[in-house]
Symmetry: C2
Subunit: 351 residues, 2 copies
Amino acid sequence: MATIKEVARLAGVSVGTVSNVITGTASVAKRRKERVLRAIQELNYHPNYVARSLKLQRTKMLGMIVSDITNPFFSQVVRGAEEAALKQGYLLLTFNTDDHEERERQVLSVLRSRRVDGILLVVAPSKTKPTHIVETLKAGIPVVCLDRLPPGIAVDSVTVDNVAAARECVRHLIAQGNQKIGIITGSLALATAQQRLLGYEKAMHEANLDVDKRWVRRGDFRSESGYQLGREILQEENRPTALFVSNNLMAYGVLRALDDLGLQCPRDLAIATFDDPAITQVFRPRLTAVFQPAYSFGYTGAELLIQRIESKTTGESPISIRLPTELHIRESSATIFSRPEARGEWETSST
Amino acid sequence: MATIKEVARLAGVSVGTVSNVITGTASVAKRRKERVLRAIQELNYHPNYVARSLKLQRTKMLGMIVSDITNPFFSQVVRGAEEAALKQGYLLLTFNTDDHEERERQVLSVLRSRRVDGILLVVAPSKTKPTHIVETLKAGIPVVCLDRLPPGIAVDSVTVDNVAAARECVRHLIAQGNQKIGIITGSLALATAQQRLLGYEKAMHEANLDVDKRWVRRGDFRSESGYQLGREILQEENRPTALFVSNNLMAYGVLRALDDLGLQCPRDLAIATFDDPAITQVFRPRLTAVFQPAYSFGYTGAELLIQRIESKTTGESPISIRLPTELHIRESSATIFSRPEARGEWETSST
DNA sequence: TAGCAAAGATGAATCGTTTCAGGCACGCCG
DNA sequence: CGGCGTGCCTGAAACGATTCATCTTTGCTA
């Protein structure tokens, strides 16, 4: 692999000059510049970014930590982050933690050794205050948290107002005439799951509706738990007429449970959920869902992170960006008396 | 950020000794080793992998180029690759090309500058022989192609037998009593799409079945084209009774088209398709599909790549790994006379 | 044509590791 | 007691870029 020295020799100039041609740092006479460019072509020279990183003390690489890229929500987040990063010449080093805090610790350590310029983090749930994140910040490495906030830590973030979104969503179920409304929560170790539960409780309380304890079930954001808990709730003698399911994977599980029991949505149970990937619109019933701008999570987060990196203002008061959600109303939340017979398009309201 | 020199000073030893402790290259007396480890702790020292990479002339990083990580198939591939890479201490630098050759060129150039040790590539379709890949290989950088093979290039690969899989799939449709069978192909710039078409033609030919030209429609692997072409085919006066759809996204489009026209699958049209992500099993009708081991694509590919890197045998005769597919038979391909009335489980046969 | 400013070119030092030739100390053997 | 082998340590060179103090060239003016 050719080095800058070889290019310099072939072009008959000094290494400094070649460097100036490549980086544009200082001006180089036209004729020499051409000679250098020709030499670069001829040797098929690709500047060694490792050496450059060492000298400049920055790698133009971002660490990206998510729980699982296989989840359509996070793959969109990653995609958005990549786009924003690339646009400014940064590359993305991606990791999955499957929400294991231990793995997150390891990855963070690796990223420090790799000297990434900053880190985009979808933090794993944790019982204790995540000291590894504090340490990373203390070491002067900018971190932006996406989607979830680690408890008790001052850090930049891009989030969504889960409480308000869940509340609006449950209100919609109420407006459809439902009085007995249940919820399947995500893992309550996650702030997002807690917030959605809170939003549900608020909406119910405001409408003076009772919450039967048996209608509140604790899931883990995975399809299987939606299936299990859905079955359980549906087999209660006093079962709810509507269910707020805290994410879409679990909603699919509930649909499967309904199907198993020979029941139908929305005839026997209205459903509203969170997350709204394009793919689900193909299937019946179309799900009423809170749309989160997944792509923007990543894009905005990367932009914020890069801004922090380049302005060198890490440690100043954290910036919190709130992204808007949209409640997409579709078939799955139609109640018996309001369900249209025709297959029409459905309205959409936005927050 | 602490350096090895500072660690050495704090521990009262030379930098060479610290390096030996960290890498385990040479033996260090017990007491000194402990002093060094304590100093590392105290300074919270993280070895600078950039400097190490420069010295060792390898980065322990892999480039990963896919068309779109948002596609569930590719997100699984990436996940598998990450797992295999991490297990051997390699990191993944991920890029999306959206199947644009130009972007692929750019990314390849960036990866050379970054001095990645090897590249996992889902190659973009191309009219001409992709010289940029040849060049990369000539530069001595190992490349493993996943899923698709670039035409006319000797390169390691992990693929699936698309011809055989499509053929088996269409044979199944025939066995179900269908005689008029159509196909929606992917973009024929992609080898995989061509191969699936070929498999379809083989199966039809072997069964002495006519292929009406109007039943063969050229899509682009995206949902929208499935919808459009599905509508067109269904509105032919002599429409097929079954459709082989070359990937799952387009199959969803066809389902939407059916729905729009007030038709049902499989009553009015049997469907069999390619790719079989877990999520689709939730919905009715469950799709008969050729399952591809997406995760294994990535995992196997990364293993092969790392083996090539570490044995330094690039340029030797290429290794081609063929992964097995499985035909998952479900509701969508049941024909009128064979469709069971009960909701039972469906058989699965494997290739 | 001499003088001078501005523009351009040079090359050594530097970034933080690894590696290796050489030095030191110790113990064992004859 | 001298010689030698062994085990540990040390420190300088090298990896390939950037940068900057310093030197050279160029072009302009009087």
